[in-house]
């Protein structure tokens, strides 16, 4: 299994016609209803470009052509290099990559088993753990450290990530200032802004607030990043039944309209600036009103959103592999497995939130990362498909073994294992006696032991000393400047 050459796209929920219907419905929404932009400069840019802008209500209504012109300028792929080139990512077409994500605030402590607030130590240990987990391709900032300057928590998170993983990095900025400082970190690693544009070592995501609302900070950050001509992720997160229509198609229309509005702004500022299409929509649970992160419909909508993104020839920042369970139990297993498999088969490119998260993304768990790595390993196996060749059709070995023989002692068997069989690391296939002899451990216990072992032994190559010094200088300046209370 070549985990760096995974291709999805076998699963589709929409016909080509239905994709176009969603596209036209989104254009309708943007022209008839419009989108709220809490940003004077953005309103000015839209007005000058020919949009109908209500300056008082801050509502922008978009002519179809303006939106379609913007989306046509975007590049088809985004290259995302990692500190270690073997982890480089090419977000394009049906290529599939997995990573964590979402800013959980709590952690299930690996030793005490108690749920507690995340710390800077976690913001270093999680990337270190993920660095060692085979089926996670990238690292997205996923734990909010409660014990650092809260204005700079995202910047500290990015610093922790750059130090503790050689994998590709993404983060969610809390402010435009921190966003620019994170880009500056990437710039230092690349050796200048011109180099960073070719080798963007970090990508940031900005989301609309559904329905049809772009807040000041994210708009401001989109404008600044577009001016720098660096890649970014633009998307939205409607929740069916509360901040979005209850219907799956309706939520897709809203996600499409909001995302197109954000992309149009970026393209007006900087034609051709690379953007990734973002969809993180899910249901609101209609009994409680809470975000249903583990909903199976999230998987379905993300597959459909991948089809829509491909219609626009854009890579997609997809979502899948989440759970609403409070602990690593059966619910966590089935919700995550269904979502991850679906979105991978659907050809989501940069699939975040794919591991480690519990409690509707509020909590991260070390052992859950190890369990999800196993789920993603199985998904990886599925994506590798069924190879059909003379060798795999195996007529020769069937003849050699013949009726009443067995295949166990055949070279063909031994040689086929690495290509054909997923070898589980934590799943148990022992006989009961042996399982009992080894302590009758549950998956969670085995995963916890593995997480401990990784954290005890795994240390990625540190940042070059001079780079680390410059990163620390960025933090120091931020603390003394915009980060002051």
């Amino acid at each position: 299994m070549d985990i760096w050459n995974l291709r999805g796209g076998k699963l589709k929920f929409l016909t080509d016609q239905q994709v176009r219907e969603i596209h036209f419905a989104a254009l309708d929404v943007l022209q008839r209803v419009g989108c709220f932009f809490e940003h004077e400069e953005a309103l000015k840019i839209f007005e000058e470009a020919g949009a109908r802008v209500d300056q008082g209500k801050k509502i922008v209504r978009f002519p179809h052509g303006l939106v379609e012109q913007g989306i046509r300028q975007t590049p088809d792929r985004i290259y995302l290099p990692a500190r270690n080139p073997k982890h480089d990512i090419y977000a394009e077409e049906d290529r599939v990559y997995f990573g964590p994500g979402t800013l959980s605030v709590k952690v299930i402590d690996l030793e005490t088993r108690q749920c507690r607030l995340g710390t800077m130590r976690d913001a270093q240990d999680f990337p270190r753990l993920i660095d060692a987990l085979e089926y996670l391709h990238f690292y997205k900032g996923m734990i909010h450290p409660s014990d650092v300057n809260q204005k700079l928590a995202d910047l500290y998170m990015a610093y922790g990530a750059f130090c503790m993983t050689e994998k590709q990095i993404s983060n969610t900025p809390y402010s435009t200032e921190t966003a620019l400082d994170m880009i500056r970190m990437g710039e230092i690693l690349a050796g200048g802004m011109d180099e960073f544009r070719l080798k963007p070592y970090i990508i940031l995501n900005m989301l609309a607030v559904s329905p049809l609302q772009w807040g000041y900070t994210n708009v401001n950050t989109i404008i600044e990043l577009a001016r720098l001509r660096v890649p970014m992720i633009i998307g939205s997160e409607p929740q069916n039944g509360t901040t979005g229509p209850a219907t799956l198609a309706g939520a897709l229309v809203l996600n499409t309209a909001e995302t197109l509005a954000g992309i149009t702004l970026a393209q007006l500022i900087s034609p051709g600036v690379p953007v990734m299409w973002g969809n993180i929509g899910s249901l609101s649970d209609m009994k409680t009103g809470l975000f249903a992160a583990g909903a199976v419909e999230l998987g379905m909508m993300n597959v459909a959103a991948s089809q829509i993104a491909k219609f626009y020839r854009l890579p997609i920042y997809a979502t899948g592999g989440m759970s609403d369970s409070k602990t690593s139990d059966c619910q966590a297993g089935y919700e995550k497995a269904l979502q991850a498999l679906m979105i991978a088969l659907g050809g989501g490119n940069y699939i975040h939130d794919a591991a480690g998260l519990l409690e509707s993304c509020l909590t991260s768990s070390y052992e859950q990362y190890v369990i999800d790595n196993e789920i993603l390993g199985m998904v990886t196996r599925v994506l590798s498909g069924i190879e059909v060749s003379k060798e795999t059709l195996a007529v020769d070995v069937i003849e050699k073994v013949g009726p009443r023989g067995n295949f166990l002692g055949e070279m063909h068997t031994l040689q086929s294992i690495p290509r054909e069989h997923f070898i589980p690391e934590i799943s148990n296939r022992q006989i009961r006696e042996d399982w009992e002899r080894d302590g009758s451990k549950t998956t969670m216990e085995v995963a916890r032991e593995k997480a401990r072992e990784i954290l005890r032994t795994h240390h990625p190559t540190p940042l070059p000393e001079d780079v680390d010094r410059e990163f620390q200088l960025i933090l120091k300046k931020a603390e003394e400047g915009y980060g002051r209370a």
């Binding site: 166990l408 002692g409 070279m411 031994l414 294992i417 009961r432």
Partner: protein, 217 residues
């Protein structure tokens, strides 16, 4: 020189290279190495190395099976010289093995047989669907030390007890060690029917026979 050949032989087994193993056996014989040393030092140490790798979870079962096959082929080269010289192999365990009546599953049994043979036991494979009486008959005929019974179907497990009852009825229960195995078999079941042992997998079945035969001698 001779230790070099035996090392090469051992490596050929570990490398699952049948041709090379047989070639090294011939060279060892030509160099005048005692056939028993060729088997014990050259061949079996190679197989043991693969077996240990397997026990540590570092090798897949097919690797062990192929190593056992290579071992068998290598032993076949040396064996005629052993017979000529009049020496006996070091192990003396004679095992009669069968899948019980009503059951035609045999892959597990065959794996056990292969590993037992490569461990140096003399194994008589009676095949599948064997009634208790004929297994007992063959065990007497071959003067077996151990009777091995296999069953995959829950419905045929009871046949194992029938065999033990037959031995008791004939007053020859003490002549044979009876060991059992198969997917539905547990140690509890083995104890309940009065079997002498249970092998949860092929490697442990081999250990079991060694232990039982040691006790006996």
């Amino acid at each position: 020189m001779s230790s070099q050949i035996l090392e090469k032989l051992s490596h050929a087994i570990i490398g699952l290279n049948m041709e090379e193993a047989q070639k090294q056996c011939k060279e060892a014989l030509a160099a005048g190495i005692a056939p028993l040393d060729i088997i014990n030092i050259g061949i079996r140490s190679g197989l043991n190395a693969v077996g240990e790798k397997f026990q540590r979870g570092e090798a897949f079962l097919p690797e062990l099976m192929i190593a056992a096959k290579v071992t068998e082929a290598a032993v076949a080269v040396v064996e005629p010289e052993l017979v000529k010289g009049g020496t006996k192999t070091t192990t003396s365990a004679h095992v009669v093995i069968a899948t019980v009546q009503g059951d035609i599953h045999d892959i597990g049994k065959n794996i056990v047989i292969l590993l037992m043979k490569s461990a140096g036991f003399v194994v008589y494979d009676l095949g599948v669907d064997q009634p208790a009486e004929s297994i007992v008959l063959k065990a007497k005929e071959f003067e077996a030390d151990v009777i091995g019974l296999s069953a995959v179907l829950t419905t045929t497990m009871s046949k194992m007890k029938e065999l033990i009852d037959t031995l008791i009825e004939e007053g020859i229960r003490e002549q044979f060690k009876v060991i059992i195995g198969g997917a539905p078999i547990t140690q509890e079941f083995a104890d309940a029917i009065g079997a002498d042992g249970y092998g949860p997998d092929a490697a442990r079945a081999v250990h079991l026979v060694k232990k039982l035969v040691e006790k006996r001698s």
